[in-house]
Structures are given as C-alpha cells and as structure tokens.
C-alpha cells in the first residue's frame, strides 16, 4: 500500500467517526465502561497475585527432630534435606532457639514460658526449610515425613492450601471475566457501527464494483476502530493512574498487616495503562472490522 493510500484511509476513518458522531460516542462509551471494569479487575488480580506470591515465599516447612535422635541421626536428617533439589535453604534451629523464638514472638505473654528451664523445654530441635517452588509444599512435606527420626512436619497445611486455591480461583475467574467483558464490548461496537454501515452500504457496494480489494474497504474501519479504542481508553487510564496513586499513598495508614504490600505505583501503573490501551485498540479495531464483514461478501 502506498503512503498516499494510507493517508486516505486515515482521512476517511476520521471523517466517518466525525460524521457518525452519536455512533462514535456510543462506541467510546462501551469501550470506556469495559476498560474501567477490566482495569479494576487487573489491579485487583495482579495485587492478589503479588500478595499471594510474597506469602508463598514466606511459606516454610518446619521439620521437627525426634527427641530420641542421636546427634548423628540429627545431622543425617540435615544432610538428607540438603540433598533434595527442590529445597532452597535448610536452617537448623536448636530447641533452645525455638524456645527463645516462641517467647519473643509472644511478647510479654511469652514470660509464662520462663518457667521452663533447659531440661524441661518441651520443644524439639528443628530444621527450617524453604522450597524453590512453594507450590510443591504439600508433597515435599510428605516426603520429608518419611525420613527416619523426623517426628513431625509442620507447614500450616490448611492455610497454605487455601492460599494457593484462592489465588488460582481468583486468577481464573478474573481472566474469564475480562475475556467475557472484552468480547461483549467487541460485539456491542460491531453492532453499533453496523447500524451506520447501512448508510455507507452503497459506497461499499460501488467500491466493490470498481475493483476495490477487501482490505481497501476495511482500512478506514480499522482506523475508525483504532480511534474509538484509543479515545475509549483515555478515561479508564486517567482513573487508573489517579486511583492507584491515591490507594498507594493511603494504604499504609489503614494497613494492619505488614505482609500485605501493593505493587509499587511505578512501573505497575504504566504497564497496566499500556495493557488497557492495547485492549482498547483491539476491542475497537476488532469490533469495527467485524462490522463490515457481512458487506464484503459481494
């Protein structure tokens, strides 16, 4: 295609959007609504994912060593753990340390444990293990439990499983919703533009008579769709940037749990904005180009 022809297609695309202004506004409205919803879902999903990721990385397996184990047996457990490729780090924590940790984690209430001296310490020696892939926690824990003289394997099983499940659910449901929204918008736009094509039908018919290729006819619609998509993403992107900025600034004051951190404003917001613009363009172009399809069959 020659540059001059490309210019012509852009001119025609803009002209058509201007001439059918109510259609343009309706379509932009559809894109805007969709993208606001999509942006909201994206922000929620990606942050849930982020939080789940950071929690996942905090997941540890605590391997308790049987009280009757000899020193060699205890070290054998450590070596066995070290040799497992899925295990990233193995840290030994003696029963004395464990007691200290327990006391300090309970703050003032921890003083009640002061009554135990070393002989009466009810805790076991432990290995604290982190995995390269936290999703494998459950099977790995089961495997560790079979090592001799391991008395117990703890990893807060229910919590871990729930977390993984929730994260996967949220991701799948979110994706399905986003895809459904995008297709609804494409359908809406295609039907809105189709109404105006009836007026342009004769023009398309004549273009076909004089030997226009289908792409020659489609191009102005492509441009029009692109325009609708871009204009439709202006408000959602503005809302996303200001909304997320506000959230980012104020989250600390309401956030009670330090393990919940949002994705940092930059570059996250810019990446999502880019994605929103891209989705908007795809919706607009797809909807617009689809709307001419029926009229090209002659």
């Amino acid at each position: 295609m020659k540059l001059r022809t490309l210019k012509r297609h852009f001119r025609e695309g803009f002209k058509n959007s201007w001439r059918n202004s109510w259609m343009t506004i309706a379509s932009i409205g559809a894109v805007t609504t969709t993208l606001i919803l999509v942006a909201t879902f994206l922000v929620l999903l990606l942050n849930i994912n982020h939080i789940a990721d950071s929690l996942e990385n905090d997941v540890e397996i605590k391997v308790l060593v049987d009280l009757t184990a000899t020193e060699e047996e205890r070290e054998a457990i450590g070596e066995e753990l070290e040799s497992m490729s899925i295990i990233e780090t193995v840290v030994f924590s003696s029963r004395e340390q464990e007691l200290e940790n327990l006391k300090s984690s309970l703050g003032e209430d921890g003083d009640v444990f002061g009554i135990f001296d070393d002989q009466e310490n009810p805790l076991d020696d432990a290995y604290i293990v982190k995995l390269t892939d936290p999703q494998q926690t459950v099977p790995v824990a089961e495997e560790i439990a079979t090592i001799p003289k391991v008395s117990e394997v703890n990893y807060g099983e229910d919590f871990v499983q729930d977390l993984f499940n929730f994260n996967n659910y949220a991701r799948n449901i979110g994706l399905v919703l986003i895809i459904a929204l995008v297709f609804t918008a494409i359908f809406l736009i295609s039907n809105t533009i189709k109404i105006t094509i009836f007026a342009r039908r004769k023009e398309i018919e004549i273009m076909k008579l004089v030997g226009a290729t289908n792409w020659f006819i489609r191009w102005p619609f492509f441009v029009e769709g692109l325009l609708l998509g871009i204009l439709g993403s202006v408000i959602p992107i503005a809302a996303l940037v200001t909304g997320y900025y506000y959230l980012d600034q104020n989250i600390e004051t309401v956030n009670q749990f330090d393990f919940i951190t949002l994705l940092p404003f930059s570059p996250f917001v810019w990446q999502v904005s880019g994605l929103i613009l891209l989705i908007g363009a795809v919706i607009g172009i797809w909807g617009s180009v689809m709307s001419v399809r029926k009229f090209l069959k002659v």
């Binding site: 295609m1 001059r4 004549i206 273009m207 004089v210 030997g211 226009a212 002659v298």
Partner: protein, 228 residues
C-alpha cells in the same frame, strides 16, 4: 474475450436462472443481450463480473478461469471490466468529479494521473463543465454518462451495461448509445442487456437472445425479435 461452456446457474432459492450456456465473444465485439424479463440476462452479466459464481460449467474472461479464481483475485478481474447499470449507482453526496475519481482511487492511481484521467473521461461523455455538480443536479441521461465515465476510467477491455437506457427517454437513450458506440470503436468489448427494440433494430450488432436460461438465437447484425 469471453468463453462459456455449458454454464448453469441455480440460485440458492432453487431458481434455475441459466441452464447451459455455450458462447464465445471476441475482443472488440458489441453484443446485445435480449430476452424477456426473468430470462437470465442480468444473471449472465453477473457471472462475467463474478458478482455470482456459476453452479457448473466453465467461464473464461480475458484468459482467466473464473471457476478457479480465488476470492482475493476478484478485485483485479473487476478492474479490467467496467459496469453500467440502469440505476447509475452514483454516490449522492460526492461531486461528479469525485464519483469518477473513486474508481481510480481504489487502484491507487497517482493524483496527477487521476486528475488528468477524470477530466479526460468526463470530456469523453461531454460533462467536463459539470465536474463540480452533485448527481441530484444532473438529468438522468447525464447521470448515466457519469456512470459510463466511471466505468471506462480504468481503461477496461470489457464494458458490461445492464439496461443502461432502461430509465431514460428515447432522445437521451440515443445519446448514451452514441457514447457506447464510440467506446466500442476504440476497441472496448461491450455487452449490453436491453429491452429496447428501437435501439437493437437501428444500431445493428450481434444479438444474443436468452429464454429460460438458454441461448435461443445468436445472430450477427440481428433483430430484437420480440414485440416490445
């Protein structure tokens, strides 16, 4: 120019419009298609222009096998064929100039050549001075001349006219015929479907009569042959 072998066309609704057409039209010929309403004349022209596809049989247009032609090649076939219809098919919001330029824009002609060629063909049909008018400001005959100018703008080797004088009064019809004859004289093959006894019997050319989807007569310098 055109060759058909046992061409049949059945529309999806079951109407058998053509029932086995065999013919050959040579370059430079002027052919009238006659026959009663519903005989299959328009269907015949649509097959050549590939607006419709044949149900069976073979069609060659300027060496191209239309039965094997891919859809994306159809536009290039159409650029070699000009078409003129009874209802002109002009775009009402565009000027006469723009209506003709349209055909050249589609083939990505350069602006300079486009201007030159548009004025050339408008001159050929005698409407150079009305380039800035819109179709509604022109008479029916003038509008048909614009349609002819558009049809020949791309130097087609073949011009198909489906009842080009169908909506025009006799005087205007003769003007149109004069232009078509000139175009034919310059070497363009013309196929014209018509119901005009006067034209066919006065300007004597090859006549192909179609009845119920079959060629019943093919005569050089023939008559209309029906009571009008």
């Amino acid at each position: 120019m055109i060759k058909m072998q046992n061409v049949k066309k059945t529309y999806p609704n079951g109407v058998q419009a053509l029932n086995g057409i065999d013919l050959q039209i040579d370059p430079g010929e002027f052919v009238y298609l006659v026959g009663q309403s519903g005989a299959g004349k328009s269907t015949f022209t649509k097959l050549i222009f590939r607006e419709e596809t044949a149900t069976s049989g073979e069609i060659y247009v300027s060496g191209k096998d239309l039965t094997k032609m891919k859809r994306r090649d159809v536009p290039y076939l159409r650029r070699e064929i000009g078409v003129v219809y009874q209802d002109f098919k002009l775009l009402p919001k565009m000027t006469i100039y723009e209506n003709v330029a349209f055909a050249l824009e589609v083939v990505e002609e350069t602006p300079r050549n486009m201007r030159k060629r548009v004025m050339e063909v408008l001159d050929q049909v005698g409407l150079k001075n009305k380039a800035r008018f819109i179709p509604d400001e022109l008479s029916g005959g003038e509008q048909q001349r614009v349609a002819i100018a558009r049809a020949i703008a791309n130097y087609p080797k073949l011009l198909i006219a489906d009842e080009p004088t169908g909506n025009l009064d006799p005087d205007t019809s003769w003007e149109i015929m004069k232009i078509l004859e000139e175009i034919n004289a310059s070497g363009t093959t013309i196929i014209m479907a018509t119901h005009s006894k006067e034209i066919v019997n006065t300007i004597k050319r090859r006549v192909i009569a179609i009845e119920d989807g079959l060629i019943v007569r093919d005569q050089h310098r023939g008559d209309y042959g029906y009571e009008a």
